[in-house]
């Protein structure tokens, strides 16, 4: 079984209140030197069938229309082999 990972991040120019809250908390907890924090979402999709180009295209569509809000977010799609070796495969928001 293959795993497809979709990472969703706010676009760089968009305010990230959660990331800021984390960043503000770091020095209080004694973690110095972190200049910026951006928080995103990671989706792990376990695919029953082999991940063909068509399947990947379908997952990109899914990410584009459902997992990410492309008005404010970017996403990337990649295939993660079962052994743990990371394969290539990509997509991005327009």
């Amino acid at each position: 079984m293959a795993r497809v990972v979709v990472d969703v991040m706010l676009k760089p120019e968009i305010l990230d209140p959660q990331g800021q809250a984390v960043q503000r908390a770091l020095p209080r907890l004694g973690f110095e030197g972190i200049a910026d924090v951006r928080q995103g979402k990671r989706f792990e999709l376990d695919v029953a069938e082999p991940v063909t180009d068509e399947a990947l295209a379908r997952i990109r569509e899914l990410a584009e229309t459902f997992l990410a809000n492309t008005v404010i977010e970017h996403y990337t799609v990649r295939v993660e082999e079962a052994e743990g070796a990371e394969g290539a495969g990509a997509g991005a928001a327009a």
């Binding site: 305010l15 990230d16 008005v71 990509a90 991005a92």
Partner: protein, 776 residues
């Protein structure tokens, strides 16, 4: 952060061209400038050159373009809005207004040394692009307007309009907007006490997301947006400045969506309600210690707007060191910093001796505050970037003396045909069975159905002062816990009426809102309006706008309720098709003791039902004509402002003297709508008799104005009748609160259970499944 496979990598910004300083601009008069892309017209650009005596720098061009956009300059609407001041009711009626149009929001005296400030604004276009954040930042913006007047925000309301309820795009926009309003308002800890939800095809590509906020203060706390006193410091405080909504005001307010490709889509502003909460508490503490000479919130047009408006309203000039502005993204150019619409920011003018204390309070609240400039002796607004002058302008030319257009307007050629298409000709239900079916169809239609699925997502009771909230006629907030002093607010607007006759439509919006406030027992005092219209460059839309302004100003004078402020939203159209002209009118009233309020619910069996006012056959633009026939034509119901005033006086007196236990104003949907809502709310049925001389259909479905339905305890019947008789208000006893069904005698009966299913099931069935998606 982004993997290498990303097709749109985050590259370093392209090497920037040399800084466009004032000196550089003076020496390069022929340089090409993107004035058209920034939404300026050729003659506007020429005028800027004339004002400055040279070409503007990039930063100046950015400021002028954003401040001269329709959204900020009111250049098309100004000539018509003047009437609200010119026709404002005179003494002795209008003694309540303390601050009028032109400031961040109007302020009204409500007695006992309290003052209230309130305003409604639009956030239409941003809410279409990104419903959640658009609606959320709409709340944030209006709350800061109220805060900037010196008041503690105490409640919000949201008049909303969407496309057809069953259209797929409405399923994208509505849940997002509702979640955004709830998310921001609930996190901020402000109750949402009412508003409206309307569906109509005409709003398909242009939903209207208006937001109203009300705040309370003592008289001495009123603050104004002006920068006076040479040497006073200009302090920017709140969130850091990022790339939010750059060009948003200019691009969004100047062009319709069709023309706008994805490439021009501005960065969406994202709100942070927790930051706003800190900003509120921090600002109120600063007010308490009397540390500011002038204050302004940052909304549309960001720092361009705040600096130029503060300087323009004050006595001196202003010098700003733009490179001291704290940034979220260090690659922002000076032009972008000036245009950024990052949320949760305020700008204050502070005497030098009070700066330290000001900064101390900000630090306590974890709010970043930076001295970015000072008030100067001259009359110029000067902005520097690392020591080099990039802006040198007379601030009034940016903020208050922008272009003014007398746009041509003309009664549309189709108006006569529309008015001639009389709703009286439509086939009507005749038998009792048909009337019953029409009743259920009306009450389950999206516009007339219960809105609780939406309003239940808002916190209505936080802060503990909410006396009335949706689905009451108006929202009511207690202002003083000791005396029970309170304010009531309602917002109304009927785009269908306004399409049939914009002059009357605007007056009907005011009349309904006024009536709603009076029905709660509060005395109407003042008005705020949000005027949502199509393109001012279209003479038909401009005519609608001109007529609506004239109608509203005339009616405000007659009712003695001045317009204290508001907002205009133009260009609400997709292609050539404009929305219905939609003036949304908010009315604020005062009640001496909120325990005397009148709710809509029929809570006690045996009480007598009285219909106040005259019922005529008036079906043009009615809810029935829309639901049963998809029809819009004829004339809207007749306006009678003297009658509205009399009805209001009766409702207020009856509430104060305990003569009525429930009241519901009659508006869209007519008597049957009000009767059903009051019965369902109270959990009691009613037996109703059709008065002689009226057809049952007209009695139940006509939308004649100046009417209300009240429940009178038997012990008060004589007193109530005597009062109405003495004042000359026609009243008819039409029935009694009784049983668990609504029975229209001789016609039909319908159980509350069946009615409730029809009335309350509609919105959940349409939207409940889509709610999870909205928070994404």
């Amino acid at each position: 952060m982004t993997p290498s496979t990303q097709s749109e990598p985050r590259t370093a910004p392209a090497p920037r061209t040399a800084l466009d300083t004032v000196k550089h601009a003076a020496g390069t008069p022929g340089a090409d400038q993107p004035w058209a892309e920034l939404g300026l017209k050729q003659d506007e650009y020429e005028r800027i050159r004339e004002i400055l005596g040279r070409r503007p720098t990039g930063a100046e061009l950015a400021m002028y373009s954003v401040m001269w956009s329709e959204h900020c300059s009111y250049k098309s609407s100004k000539v018509h809005l003047k009437q609200f001041g010119e026709k404002a009711p005179g003494q002795p009626e209008n003694t309540a207004m303390l601050v009028g149009i032109g400031e961040n929001a109007g302020v009204v005296d409500i007695g006992q040394d309290y003052a209230v400030t309130f305003k409604v604004e639009s956030h239409n276009h941003p809410s279409y692009v990104e419903p959640y954040q658009g609606a959320a930042t709409g709340i944030g913006g209006i709350v800061r307007d109220i805060l900037a007047m010196g008041a503690r925000p105490v409640a919000v309301m949201d008049p909303l309009r969407f496309g057809a309820a069953d259209h797929p795009d409405t399923r994208r926009v509505l849940p997002g907007v509702v979640a955004g309003i709830g998310g921001y308002g609930n996190c901020l800890g402000l109750p949402n006490i009412g508003g409206e939800v309307v569906f109509d095809d005409c709003y398909q590509g242009n939903p209207l997301v208006n937001a109203l906020c009300v705040g309370v203060m003592k008289h001495e706390d009123i603050h104004l947006a002006q920068a006076s006193g040479t040497g006073n410091k200009v302090i920017l405080y709140g969130a850091r400045t990022g790339g939010d909504g750059i060009g948003g005001v200019s691009v969004l307010a100047s062009e319709t969506f069709e023309e706008e490709g994805p490439a021009k889509r501005p960065a969406v502003q994202v709100g942070d309600p927790f930051q706003e909460k800190l900003l509120i508490e921090c600002t109120l503490e600063i007010f308490r210690e009397k540390l500011v000479a002038g204050i302004q919130d940052l909304g549309g047009a960001g720092l361009s707007c705040a600096t130029s408006e503060l300087a323009s309203a004050g006595s001196g000039g202003m010098r700003v060191e733009l490179d001291t502005v704290p940034l979220r993204d260090s690659s922002l150019s000076p032009e972008e910093i000036l245009m950024s619409e990052s949320q949760e920011r305020m700008c204050a003018v502070v005497e030098p001796g009070k700066v330290d204390r000001f900064l101390e309070i900000c630090e306590k609240w974890d709010v970043i505050a930076t001295v970015i400039g000072e008030v100067t002796e001259g009359e110029r607004l000067e902005i520097y970037w690392h020591g080099e002058q990039i802006v040198d302008v007379p601030p009034r030319t940016v903020a208050h003396e922008g272009p003014v257009y007398h746009r041509p307007y003309e009664r549309p050629s189709w108006q006569d045909a529309l008015q001639a298409d009389d709703a009286a000709a439509l086939p009507r239900p005749g038998t009792g069975e048909e009337l019953r079916a029409a009743t259920l169809a009306l009450l389950s239609s999206p516009n007339q159905a219960a809105k609780s699925w939406i309003t239940d997502q808002y916190d209505r009771y936080v802060l503990g002062n909410t006396v009335l909230a949706q689905p009451e006629d108006g929202g009511m907030i207690r202002v003083d816990e000791e005396t029970g002093l309170g304010v009531a607010l309602a917002t109304d607007g009927n785009g269908r009426y306004a399409k049939l006759d914009p002059y009357a439509g605007a007056q009907l919006a005011l009349a309904e809102s006024y009536r709603n406030v009076a029905a709660t027992g509060a005395r109407p005092l003042a008005v705020t309006d949000c005027l949502n219209f199509g393109s001012p460059e279209d003479p038909s839309a401009m005519w609608q706008f001109a007529e609506a302004c004239r109608g509203l100003a005339d009616a405000c004078r007659e009712l003695g309720t001045p317009v204290t402020g508001g907002n205009v939203s133009l260009y609400n159209q997709t292609g050539d098709t404009a929305i219905h002209p939609t003036p949304v009118v908010g009315v604020l009233g005062v009640i001496d003791d909120v325990s005397r309020r009148t709710p809509v619910a029929f809570a006690e069996q045996g009480q007598l039902l009285y219909l106040l006012g005259d019922t005529r056959e008036e079906l043009g633009g009615s809810a029935w004509s829309q639901v049963a026939h998809g029809h819009l034509g004829g004339l809207p119901p007749a306006v009678d402002l003297d009658r509205e005033r009399l009805l209001a006086e009766i409702l207020i007196a009856a509430s104060r003297d305990g003569m009525i236990d429930a009241a519901h104003d009659l508006s869209d949907g007519g008597l049957i709508q009000a009767l059903a809502e009051s019965c369902l709310k109270g959990g009691n049925g009613a037996r109703v008799v059709v008065p002689d001389g009226l057809s049952p259909f007209v009695f139940l479905f006509s939308e004649s104005q100046g009417r209300a339905l009240v429940a009178v305890p038997r012990s008060e019947e004589v007193r109530f009748n005597d009062m109405c008789g003495a004042r000359g208000l026609p009243v008819a006893r039409i029935g009694v609160v009784d049983g668990d069904e609504i029975e229209i005698q001789g016609q039909f009966g319908v159980s509350l259970r069946e009615l409730r299913e029809a009335h309350e099931g509609t919105l959940p069935a349409l939207f409940a499944g889509d709610a999870e998606r909205a928070g994404a």
